[in-house]
């Protein structure tokens, strides 16, 4: 402790008058904070504020507080910057972190306001009228050919390869390896119950989950972990992961500690080795290469839809246009607040652009080229609530992806220590004694509850807007206003400022 000059971030206090010495805290803490020597002791320096001990202490004897230790104020050298330097001076290396960007960047969603009806058009009551959220993801033709007259109309155009979702919400890609099998199980069960899809992330799909194939998007990332013909067939679509919002431009980082036997066989890599997927796909050095992989995957799957996931970077609109023209059916935009199991903090916190802006410019670009029908857009990376979802849809998303929100539903406290494999909540760990804590059915129920709650809220928003189908909100920026954004950003978002 003294050697690395770091002071504890949190202080753990055990009230010994309340403590019954049941040792639940010792069992529950994944980070080894607690010990027992005639009484319960806590090593505060190991605490990550995941609250597992606090929640499970039957006597409410444990409190976790921020260490009030005073640092001399300095507006340039905030404490976290000083700590980062101490860490790197102690041992060379990148500072690793988990979950999404935690710096206080402008959150555009918090500067967008939604409209509602008053007098000139009636709002619609979702308790009394149908309110439709059904969404189809995939390529649509520009028009339909219909022949015949007087009620006997026949459709001549087949609309193939669309994924039907009962809600415009999907679970974002989180790999088996970064999260536990029980987390994957909970997501798959919930996706099936909700009529939506989960996404495998880049770690393959455990064979046990193949029966959920109608509710799974399988991912093919640069490491090709767990990619084989049967896997590619085990979903409704294949996603080529080019980039991730939390770490644009770099590959995956799964530390060897999390490669247990099951992860090893699912990923098809040796047990205990670090799974570092390459930064680029080594068969995609340009857009024409992407086209080849898209069509290779289509050939391999009998022409299932192919999604391409990219991080939102500066030139995202042109990139998305290229992806659409390369033959993708879905573009998955992952904003710079998107989560991760492990990323260098420098990249997570400073690379990429906000989802809201990327989404707006991609949707506008595809429209200006007249190719918006060719692809669906999933917006993810920073969707925290149904309000964010509604705003993303109004900006142009067909559906939104939720990753971090799903994990929070399962108990995640955003301690940002996923990469250690010590997750006390059994979510981002492969240690059987930890991952066994997450009951997949219990987890699925919580995920279903969350998505159903957001769906209710979305319906309420639609009703207030006076529309009864989500497609009337989709891309309908006329119903958004900006507040407190600079003029340039408002113009880029193509929304009007409040008051106009």
């Amino acid at each position: 402790m003294a050697g690395d000059m770091l002071t504890s971030e949190f202080l753990v206090n055990v009230d010994h008058e309340r403590c019954r010495r049941c040792k639940r805290c010792i069992l529950n803490c994944g980070f080894g904070v607690f010990d027992f020597q005639s009484m319960t002791t806590a090593e505060s320096s190991k605490c990550v504020a995941c609250h597992r001990c606090v929640v499970f202490c039957p006597e409410e004897a444990i409190t976790v507080t921020r260490n009030p230790l005073a640092f001399k104020d300095h507006s340039s050298w905030d404490v976290n910057r000083r700590k980062a330097i101490w860490k790197q001076a102690q041992a060379p290396g990148m500072i690793l972190t988990g979950m999404g960007n935690d710096l206080p960047w402008l959150n555009v969603f918090d500067h967008l306001l939604i409209d509602a009806c008053q007098v000139t058009n009636p709002s619609i009551d979702p308790l009394r009228e149908p309110m439709e959220l059904r969404t189809y993801l995939g390529r649509k033709p520009d028009s339909l050919e219909v022949v015949g007259e007087d009620g006997a109309h026949r459709l001549e155009t087949r609309v193939a390869g669309n994924i039907r979702l009962e809600v415009p919400l999907v679970f974002s890609g989180m790999s088996y390896g970064s999260v536990s099998l029980n987390t994957h199980r909970a997501l798959a069960i919930a996706a099936e119950k909700l009529g939506t899809v989960m996404n495998t992330g880049e770690g393959g799909l455990h064979k046990e989950l193949y029966p959920y194939r109608d509710h799974i998007i399988v991912q093919c990332a640069s490491g090709r972990f767990g990619v084989h013909p049967e896997y590619l067939q085990s979903g409704v679509a294949v996603e080529i992961k080019v980039g991730q919002g939390a770490k644009p431009g770099i590959g995956g980082h799964l530390p060897g500690e999390k490669i247990c036997q099951e992860v090893s066989s699912t990923r098809m890599i040796p047990r205990g080795t670090d799974a570092l997927s390459p930064a680029p796909h080594h068969d995609i050095y340009s857009i024409e290469d992407l086209r080849q992989l898209i069509y290779a995957l289509k050939e391999a799957t009998g022409y299932k839809p192919v999604s391409v996931k990219i991080a939102t970077v500066h030139n995202v609109a042109a990139i998305a246009s290229g992806i659409a023209r390369a033959g993708a059916d879905i573009i998955y935009l992952d904003g710079f607040k998107g989560g991760t199991g492990a990323s260098p903090a420098v990249v997570r916190d400073h690379v990429g652009i906000p989802l809201e802006i990327a989404l707006a410019v991609v949707d506008s670009q595809l429209r200006s080229e007249g190719i918006r029908n060719r692809v669906s857009i999933i917006a993810a990376g920073g969707i925290r609530s149904s309000a964010d979802a509604a705003k993303a849809i109004a900006l142009g998303a067909d559906a939104v992806g939720i990753g971090t929100a799903a994990l929070i539903a399962l108990g995640c406290r955003l301690c940002q220590k996923c990469y250690t494999g010590n997750c006390s909540w059994g979510i981002a760990t492969q240690k059987p004694e930890l991952s066994g804590r997450l009951d997949p059915d219990w987890g699925a129920e919580r995920l279903v509850n969350l998505v159903n709650s957001w769906s209710l809220e979305l319906k309420e928003v639609l009703g207030a807007l006076g529309v009864n189908a989500v497609e009337s909100l989709r891309g309908n920026r006329e119903r958004l206003r900006s507040l407190g954004l600079d003029e340039q950003t408002t113009r880029i978002l193509d929304v009007k400022p409040a008051g106009r």
Binding site: C117, T120, K140, N162, G466, E471, E478
Partner: protein, 373 residues
């Protein structure tokens, strides 16, 4: 400065703001092709005086220009002589003009401060048409949008064949008298009284809205306007009039003329059936059709309260939104189909219809000229 082209108009041109409005509407078609004078549609509108507030009224008549039936009848309002001169240069460049004249109007009505109102009977110049690579109708659409967006002080409000739109700031019945509609004979007439909620009226903002031979009168507010407009822009339509009614006319033009969807099918796009009803359809072909329409044309769904009457060269249609949030009544007497906001407006001109009914939500009422008419 005139009422027609005041500050409001200039601001609209720059900002492209949308203006909500509510209204009363009426229409009828003589399916046997009999042409009747414009008195009836004026009388029908007069009953619904209170559905307007004097800030906009208008009419469309079909079959009214038999002597120029094969030419586009281009109705234009000009902001003074300069607007007219600038616009006529553009017109001459693109069109072979067979005749041009001031639209006849009557004095002694309450209609005040009219702009210059002219009409031209014309066809695209052959060399311009082939240069453009467009078909004749697309050429006209492009020309009209060009003038309305880029020629200051000129606004084309009607450009169909053998039909015409007449509209102004005022109560509908006064607008009808002002334009001397009783002197025209038409087989189909539609009328509109406007109740704009937040603006002094602008002549161009009155209904009907028209493109080619489509003319739309509309009561309601299309809550999905924002996406309908952006969807239309992908197909080259520029919404210049800043009212949601305009998108109705363009959506019909896109779906029926360009995508060649049968009119009833287009109505399933604009007032789409609910998924619960589509899921319950037994016939797999019908189900796939309805499902595909929603998948492909979701952005064309007109959501929110509306009743519209749409006129076109050989027919007229009334349609309500998918949950019927605005009134629409239909009636039939012999060869004539009537559609209106109010039954009283129908009975005013047809006291004893054979049948009167309230069309269901999303179910179009369509009248068509008979094949020989």
């Amino acid at each position: 400065m005139t009422v027609a082209f005041g500050d409001q108009y200039s601001r609209w041109r720059v900002d492209r703001e949308k203006v909500p409005a509510a209204c009363g509407l009426t229409g009828f078609i003589c399916e046997d092709g009999e042409r009747v004078p414009g008195d009836a549609v004026i009388e029908s509108m007069r009953v619904m005086h209170d559905r307007g507030n004097g800030l906009g009224g208008g009419f469309a008549g079909y079959g009214i220009y038999p002597e120029h039936a094969d030419l586009y009848a281009v109705h234009i309002m000009f902001e003074g002589k300069e607007g007219k001169a600038a616009c006529e240069d553009t017109l001459e460049e693109s069109l072979e003009i067979a005749a041009g004249e001031e639209i006849p109007t009557a004095g002694g009505t309450p209609i005040a401060d009219p702009p210059l109102l002219w009409r031209y009977f014309a066809l695209p110049r052959k060399e311009k048409l082939s240069e453009s690579g467009l078909d004749e109708q697309d050429f006209m659409v492009r020309l009209v949008m060009d003038i309305n967006i880029r020629v200051p002080g000129a606004f084309v409000f009607s450009c169909g064949k053998n039909m015409g739109v007449f509209k102004a700031v005022g109560f509908a019945e006064d607008v009808g008298e002002f334009f001397r509609l009783p002197e025209y004979l038409g087989h189909t007439w539609i009328g509109h009284a406007r109740f704009p909620t937040n603006t002094p009226g602008w002549w161009g903002g009155a209904h009907p809205f028209s493109i080619l031979d489509w003319a739309v009168v509309h009561n309601g507010e299309i809550s999905s306007y924002g996406i309908n407009k952006r969807y239309l822009e992908m197909f080259g339509y520029e919404c210049t009039l800043l009212t949601d009614t305009e998108v109705v006319a363009y959506l019909f033009d896109l779906l029926v003329r360009k995508h060649r969807l049968p009119l009833e099918v287009a109505c399933k796009v604009l007032a789409a059936p609910f998924w619960k009803d589509i899921d319950a359809v037994g016939d797999p072909g019908e189900k796939e059709l309805l499902e595909s329409l929603r998948i492909v044309y979701g952005s064309a769904l007109m959501n929110g309260p509306f009743a519209v009457i749409v006129g076109y060269s050989r027919g007229m249609m009334g349609l309500n939104d998918r949950i019927k949030l605005r009134p629409l009544v239909a009636a039939r007497k012999d060869e004539v189909l009537y559609v209106s906001s109010e039954e009283s407006a129908i009975r005013q001109i047809c006291p004893r219809p054979d049948r009167v009914w309230a069309p269901n939500a999303g179910q179009p009422v369509i009248g068509r000229l008979r094949g020989d008419a």
